[in-house]
Symmetry: C3
Subunit: 146 residues, 3 copies
Amino acid sequence: MTTLQDRLASLGHTLPDLGEPAANYLHHREGKGLLVIAGQIGTPGRGALDASAGRAEAEVAALKLLAVLDAAVGGDLGRVRQVLRLGVFIASSPGFTEHSTVADGASDLVVAALGERGRHARAAIGVASLPAGAAVEVEALVELVS
Amino acid sequence: MTTLQDRLASLGHTLPDLGEPAANYLHHREGKGLLVIAGQIGTPGRGALDASAGRAEAEVAALKLLAVLDAAVGGDLGRVRQVLRLGVFIASSPGFTEHSTVADGASDLVVAALGERGRHARAAIGVASLPAGAAVEVEALVELVS
Amino acid sequence: MTTLQDRLASLGHTLPDLGEPAANYLHHREGKGLLVIAGQIGTPGRGALDASAGRAEAEVAALKLLAVLDAAVGGDLGRVRQVLRLGVFIASSPGFTEHSTVADGASDLVVAALGERGRHARAAIGVASLPAGAAVEVEALVELVS
């Protein structure tokens, strides 16, 4: 069984400890063969960043998202059919335009970790603020094997 | 049959009158055993608020969302399997950080009303503005019994 | 076979050329009989607009979204059961309140093109900024015939 941990280790990443959700919600919820992963934030307190630093924060958030996915499927990547959607929310000023660069920090990691199954539709949005002052938040809709 | 109205009455709430959607959309749409509930706003004209007042507005929006859910299932809670996702959008300034407190105003009510079935994944986001100057908007994805 | 192109032509519209996605994502992803359409933006470089100009940009974005839908179903409208959700993101200043007017630019076109199947739940949100400086971004969740 190929594990997500093995894949990420080969990319130089370690799955972070998830911890409890910050409030009254679940990290993930599954129904009808679909897995909804709650919005995962990058490093607290970063606020709006330039494209390069924002991209790094998108990767941080995506790594947490992959940790939730790993927990949801009990470490068995064989249960993941495909990632249907990523929602990428980026703290930004009104003039910011490089959402695609930032969001690719999340998308590139998800595709590197999951291969073809990791390819996804996406909405990338510049928002006023994010929980705990994070720069990026990433949520996902994943199709499971059923 | 336990009704959502009974549950909410025991919590001191009354389901609001839904009225027609404000524009060319539906309050809800159902397909493949999934129910999508359109974004429901809190009180018009409130704009960005502090965490405590924002929490109260999240509850107002969630109460409307539960009224839509009630209408969608014809008052029969037995048709609700689980709430998969809440999207909570919070009008905020760039420095706002207490999204979790505000969003729990919605999540706490949904969980109180629906119990374990009401627990959900969530994305909480700080946005520039919301329809009609509301402070909070809440949307949902719900799994129905099928 | 009634095509989406025929329908739009009768409304005075032409499906735009899609082109490749701007970054590492797919225009659409299908699973469990659901089609997720990635966020499609209006004209680059428009920034926040008034309600009337914003409405026109929402129509531009929705036309791209319909082009993605057309590609996803191979031009066969018979494969579309219904549009479940539109997410409409509108670049705006904090005081903006006319999201419904802007978002109807997208909703009206989708309903005109698809009829009853095009009616949908919706979340309309005012955001700080959008990719490439667009004024509006529209994403969709569509149920396919299966």
